[in-house]
């Protein structure tokens, strides 16, 4: 087992107290911060995301893994900044207007962060104009993620995409949609760029979208 394997294993098992010292040890041993990030932390999150997509991992296991990764990332951050490393992409996420459900949205946020994205979470009950304002004020946003859990709030996903279009911002961002009642057919109907069935798949799709 290499130190990178140990880091990866600790993230997979959600052992956040183990991860930070292991990452520090890896740095002390002179390993490249980006290699620690990609081969130790991100690869573990990818693995847990795939297990989740196969129904072999459960939400709490994803959460503790994400927190463990976050503990490791905190140690790495100054070293990554020093090395001039850029995030994989930038995303903004929120549950649409009228919908208070956040667990699915939070999971997607964590999984996308786990892929090396910088994510801004606008929270729940987010009006279309809030998404628009955020994109206007942050011209480096690559991806907008909107979710809804209720059939009655699903139309707000379409309203959000329309608002982004009307503000002349649609070409600047990719829009990902999700939530229990949301389907590929619905995503096509409202003009989204992507729909995925779960948080693990969403993270993989986000990378695909920014890398073209």
């Amino acid at each position: 087992m290499t130190i990178i394997d140990d880091i990866s294993s600790a993230v997979l098992r959600g052992k956040r107290k183990e991860v930070a010292p292991l990452v520090q040890q890896a740095l002390d041993e002179g390993l490249d911060p980006e290699a620690i990030l990609n081969d130790g932390l991100v690869s573990a999150m990818t693995e847990i995301g795939e297990r989740f997509s196969r129904n072999e991992a459960f939400v709490p296991e994803m959460l503790v893994a994400a927190r463990a990764m976050s503990a490791g990332t905190e140690v790495l951050k100054p070293h990554l900044a020093e090395a001039g490393a850029e995030p994989v992409g930038r995303a903004v996420i929120g549950t649409v207007k009228g919908d208070m459900h956040d667990i699915g949205k939070n999971l997607v946020r964590m999984m996308i962060e786990g892929k090396g994205f910088e994510v801004t979470d606008l929270g729940v009950d987010v009006a279309p104009e809030q998404f628009v304002t955020f994109i206007q004020e942050n011209d480096d946003v690559d991806i907008v993620c909107c979710s809804a859990l209720l059939t009655t709030t699903m139309p707000e996903i379409g309203a959000t995409i329309r608002a982004i279009e009307e503000a002349g911002l649609r070409d600047r961002v990719k829009v990902m949609v999700g939530g229990a009642p949301v389907t590929q057919a619905f995503a096509d109907e409202v003009g989204a760029d992507a729909w995925t069935p779960d948080a693990g798949a969403a993270a993989a799709k986000a990378v695909e979208l920014v890398r073209g």
């Binding site: 959600g14 129904n55 459960f58 939400v59 709490p60 296991e61 959460l63 503790v64 927190r67 009228g98 208070m100 459900h101 956040d102 667990i103 699915g104 939070n106 729940v124 209720l150 059939t151 009655t152 709030t153 229990a180 009642p181 069935p197 779960d198």
Partner: protein, 329 residues
């Protein structure tokens, strides 16, 4: 003479010939008791605290209240300190008179008196801590979490006994959503370790009080269905078709009666054609009723009135036709 709704639902539950197949819940009168009232919040989209101190919001167009727990308003911020942070509501001094009068007015030959017990152990744990913190606590601080769940279970048992004394309900509707549309929330082993033993104690109290135990969980529960039967759940209400219901019927050997089967969100768009709703009712009845002890219905009420009316009308019509054409052997 035609069966009463209660007799008909008991026939399905006991595997006898009913006159129609339909939703068990259509034969109950739900009591609005003082415990439920104290946990209810206004349907105004604003933040309100329930009797446990959890901040909840009930948007006007939503099907129910929703906890809105943040780092700033969580009741329990550290599960290892739950004894200091949590005040369990008192059951003393509640006014049961309205619920008692309502229970007394129900013709029990026609319908069941149903006691609604909201937010079971799992739901209450995340209402108190927020979902993310609670989920992590189940894995990271299992002993403290189990102690807190035990205290919640003690409250539940006391509330059930009090409701039994006051209302003599025929049925309890015990609500605890253990999963999502994709899977159980907790890993099955964690659920078995933390929830199952306490839920078994609750089920024993329910049965000692003479109630039929209806457990609401409109989510995936497939990994734990045998445990649910073992606990003593009489009817699982809210079975969504993302569970393999036919496989569950085989796996549990008929021990676990079920209510649900309709894919509600799939037929709840404003422009869902009537034919699609009718077809979904037929699919549900044709697929799940042959195994017996199955009550077809929407796992959760449809949110659009028109769609709900079409669904109920076809359930009534086709459920009756199917019963006549498929006599119980």
């Amino acid at each position: 003479m035609e069966m009463t709704p209660r007799e008909n639902m008991m026939a399905i539950l006991e595997g006898r010939q009913p006159e129609w197949y339909g939703d068990f819940q259509s034969a109950v009168e739900i009591m609005m008791d003082p415990i439920w009232k104290s946990d209810s919040v206004a349907r105004d989209g604003l933040e309100h605290k329930d009797s446990w101190g959890t901040v909840c919001v009930f948007p006007p167009d939503a099907p129910g209240k929703h906890p809105h727990v943040t780092a700033d308003n969580a009741v329990v911020t550290d599960v290892t300190k739950w004894r200091e942070q949590l005040v369990i509501p008192s059951l003393d001094g509640l006014d049961w008179s309205e619920a008692e009068a309502r229970a007394a007015s129900v013709d029990r030959s026609e319908r069941f008196v149903e006691y609604f017990n909201a937010q079971g152990l799992f739901e209450r744990s995340h209402f108190l801590m927020g979902m993310e913190e609670a989920f992590c606590a189940y894995l990271e601080e299992p002993e403290a979490m189990f102690e807190m769940l035990t205290a919640i279970a003690d409250y539940k048992k006391r509330s059930i006994k009090e409701a039994a004394r006051r209302l003599k309900p025929d049925v309890i509707f015990f609500q605890d959503d253990w999963g999502s549309k994709q899977n159980l929330f907790l890993p099955p082993d964690v659920w078995r370790e933390m929830i199952k033993p306490l839920q078994t104690e609750i089920a024993q109290v329910i049965h000692e009080c003479g109630m039929i135990y209806v457990h609401h969980a409109d989510c995936i529960c497939e990994p734990i269905v045998e445990d649910m039967a073992e606990i003593g759940i009489d009817i699982w209400q809210g079975v969504i078709p993302q569970n393999d219901i036919v496989a569950i019927q085989e796996k549990t050997g008929g021990k676990l009666a079920m209510i649900g089967g309709i894919d509600g969100p799939a037929i709840d768009a404003p422009d869902t054609p009537e034919a699609d709703i009718v077809a979904e009712v037929h699919r549900c009845i044709d697929t799940y009723c042959p195994a017996g002890r199955f009550f077809p219905g929407a796992p959760a009420p449809l949110l659009r009135v028109r769609n709900g009316e079409i669904l109920n009308a076809e359930l009534e019509r086709y459920g009756r036709q199917w019963a006549a054409e498929h006599p119980v052997a």
